[in-house]
């Protein structure tokens, strides 16, 4: 993948400690993210889909430097972010922002919206006068649809609804004109009737700012909506198992895990729902992430399991269709 990558993960591994049973139990290391390669180009959108616990948030946080990888690299504009000098590192941090999943936890509860949105601009000294900051905050709040801005900027987070809070978090993230934004399950905690509003806002901002996005979600429908023109990556127990153009990946999934996920997504169409059958897995429940099966981590559930092959060595991503990569021995 030798195009103009803005941000790249190279053989990225993040290990976490997990204390097993009880107070006296020994802690074990396990790979939250294992040997991941991912590159996101300028202005490109990548949806990262996976179930809870698969490592998608950890990967997202590693990409913006919030978690230091155990091994492997994160490259920003081709340079290792953990080897940048002070000034360049600051510049990277300004350009890499995150919108967290839970707008009830991500905003400072005793600060007003005005302070929350302007904090970054102050820190990076983007504007010289308070008047400039104020007009910028007003502009940002208007952009994210919190009208009238003068009313909302004096509110505390607890006075806002979940959807409004998420809009504040978005305003904060874009306040520094970042080139790369990680949006982590940003609509999961939002009421169903308000989700599309938030997604449409972010899509519009993407056009306007030209930033790159890593859009993390467990919902294929949302992933497809947001990254219709971009790529989608599917993660399972720390590995990216499939990545390709979103529409191709959803229309013709290659990895057995992606196939089974897509076959299990409920569809809002009663006629179609009757004909859809879930792919039969050998085991419904995922293994404990601390002790995954040897070889391909999906091998103990996969209906296409090949003994002596899948349980020996973990498969590498191969280009099975143009631009569409899959880590599976079937291809």
């Amino acid at each position: 993948m030798n195009y103009n990558a803005l941000i790249e993960a190279k053989n990225l591994t993040v290990k976490f400690k997990s204390s097993s049973f009880g107070l006296l139990g020994k802690s074990t290391l396990f790979n939250a993210v294992e040997n991941c390669n991912l590159s996101i180009g300028n202005g490109e959108v990548v949806s990262l889909v996976g179930e809870s616990g698969c490592g998608k948030t950890t990967l997202g946080k590693a990409l913006i430097g919030l978690i230091r990888p155990t091994s492997g690299k994160v490259l920003y504009g081709g340079r290792d972010i953990w080897k940048l000098n002070g000034k360049d590192y600051t510049e990277f941090r300004r350009n890499a922002q995150i919108i967290h999943q839970d707008p009830y936890a991500s905003l400072h509860p005793v600060k007003k919206v005005y302070d929350i949105v302007s904090a970054g601009m102050r820190y990076y000294k983007l504007y010289s006068s308070e008047n400039e900051i104020k007009s910028k905050v007003i502009e940002l709040l208007a952009i994210v649809g919190l009208n009238p801005p003068e009313y909302f900027m004096n509110k505390y987070p607890h006075q806002l609804s979940g959807g409004q809070r998420q809009r504040v978090a978005i305003a904060r993230a874009i306040s520094l004109n970042p080139r790369f934004i990680v949006a982590d399950e940003i609509v999961t905690m939002i009421d169903v009737s308000l989700r599309v509003g938030i997604l449409n806002l972010l899509l519009e901002l993407k056009k306007r700012l030209g930033s790159s996005f890593l859009f993390i979600t467990h919902d294929f429908g949302v992933a497809r909506y947001f990254a219709a023109e971009g790529k989608a990556a599917v993660m399972y127990l720390g590995n990216i198992v499939e990545i390709g153009p979103t529409n191709n990946l959803i229309a013709e999934p290659l990895h057995p895990y992606t196939k089974s996920l897509l076959s299990a997504v409920p569809v809002p169409d009663p006629t179609l729902a009757k004909t859809r059958k879930m792919i039969a897995l050998r085991s419904i429940d995922p293994p404990n992430p601390i002790s995954p099966p040897p070889g391909c981590k999906f091998s103990d559930r996969c209906p296409y399991f090949m003994e002596g092959k899948c349980d020996k060595k973990s498969p590498e991503l191969v280009e099975a269709r143009p631009g569409h990569f899959v880590a599976c021995y079937l291809y």
């Binding site: 609804s161 009421d191 009737s193 599309v196 219709a228 809002p268 429940d285 995922p286």
Partner: protein, 328 residues
């Protein structure tokens, strides 16, 4: 024959209002709701958080927690039991024996320090006069029905099971006393899609095998297509539309239902631009006048601001609470 028709509703809910009273304020979490629940059907109750679906379900068991209070209405079970007048001892028998509920987040409602099998056994022994052999037999039969391996599951502690397995064990537990109605509050919300689909399959299986009435509470319209026969849509404490599941999806009539349908990003069909429902869900302390949906409704007229619409029959088995359903 007429006798049977008379009792074909397992639940007849009339004008139920549930209020939460806090100091000098009161909030109507459920506002004048009437619905007949048919024997043997699977009913979906769809609504966003705060729409009153859980409170409505709790009132079916006369289990609304204080400061909540059922301030109006009647609930008749099986044509003869007046649920709201039952005494504490009668209620204890009614709950679980007649109607069982799997609560939201039920994954964590097992006692963490007792084995699953012991907890299930205790439930039977507490309520029924059966010997242990028979009780164990029943437990293992139910665990098989929810596709769990009985011996292993009974010996397991809750933490040894995955989320999906715990939820299945919970469903089996709720069925221990052969209830006639099973209420499931967001049973798949905390689970991944594969476990979700699996549980929905199991539930539709159970429905066929046990001839049980199911009430499924969910915020996700799409999962209704997997299981339910009829859907009731709730908004701001009211039921705004009730229809057969197919009818609701193919011919939704209430503007809120239509809005919800247009706001689901799907994995099928073309990627269309989705339209959000404008505005936000109402502030329960400060309800809009007239139809509670009117500030967000693209079809609202003067009348909607003044007069609250009530459910009316628009076609067979399809009720809508909207002044303008004929024109939409």
């Amino acid at each position: 024959m007429s006798q049977q028709r008379l009792f074909s509703n397992i639940y007849s809910v009339k004008n139920i209002t549930v209020e939460y009273v806090m100091r000098n304020m009161s909030v109507k979490a459920v506002n004048n709701v009437s619905i007949d629940i048919r024997n043997g059907e699977a009913l979906g109750i769809v609504g966003e958080s705060g729409s009153g679906k859980t409170t409505l379900a709790l009132s079916l068991l006369n289990l609304v927690p204080p400061p909540g209070k059922i301030t109006n209405g009647r609930i008749i079970f099986d044509g003869k039991i007046d649920v709201l007048t039952l005494r504490e001892e009668e209620l204890r028998k009614f709950r679980w024996k007649q109607v069982a509920m799997v609560f939201q987040g039920a994954l964590n409602s097992f006692n963490p320090v007792l084995r699953i099998g012991d907890q299930m056994l205790e439930t039977i022994m507490e309520h029924e006069n059966v010997d242990k052999e028979e009780a164990l037999e029943r437990i293992s039969k139910l665990l098989k029905l929810v596709r769990l391996e009985p011996n292993r599951t009974m010996k397991a502690f809750p933490h040894e099971l995955s989320g999906g397995m715990k939820q299945r064990a919970m469903i089996a537990t709720s069925l221990l006393l052969n209830p006639r109605v099973l209420i499931l509050d967001e049973p798949t919300t905390a689970l991944d899609v594969i476990s979700q689909k699996y549980i929905l399959n199991i539930l539709s299986d159970l429905k066929k095998k046990l001839e049980i009435t199911m009430i499924l509470l969910t915020h996700d319209l799409a999962i209704c297509t997997e299981l339910v026969d009829r859907v009731a849509v709730m908004y701001a404490g009211r039921i705004v539309e009730i229809a057969k599941m197919e009818d609701l999806f193919l011919k939704p009539k209430h503007p809120y239902t239509i809005g919800l349908m247009q706001a689901i990003p799907s994995v099928i069909g073309d990627v269309k631009e989705l339209k959000p429902i404008p505005g936000s869900p109402p502030d329960m302390f400060n309800m809009p006048s007239g139809c509670p949906f009117h500030p967000r409704c693209p079809y609202a007229i003067e009348r909607c601001k003044k007069e609250e619409p009530y459910l009316e029959e628009t076609s067979e088995d399809h009720l809508v609470a909207c002044h303008r359903w004929r024109e939409i």
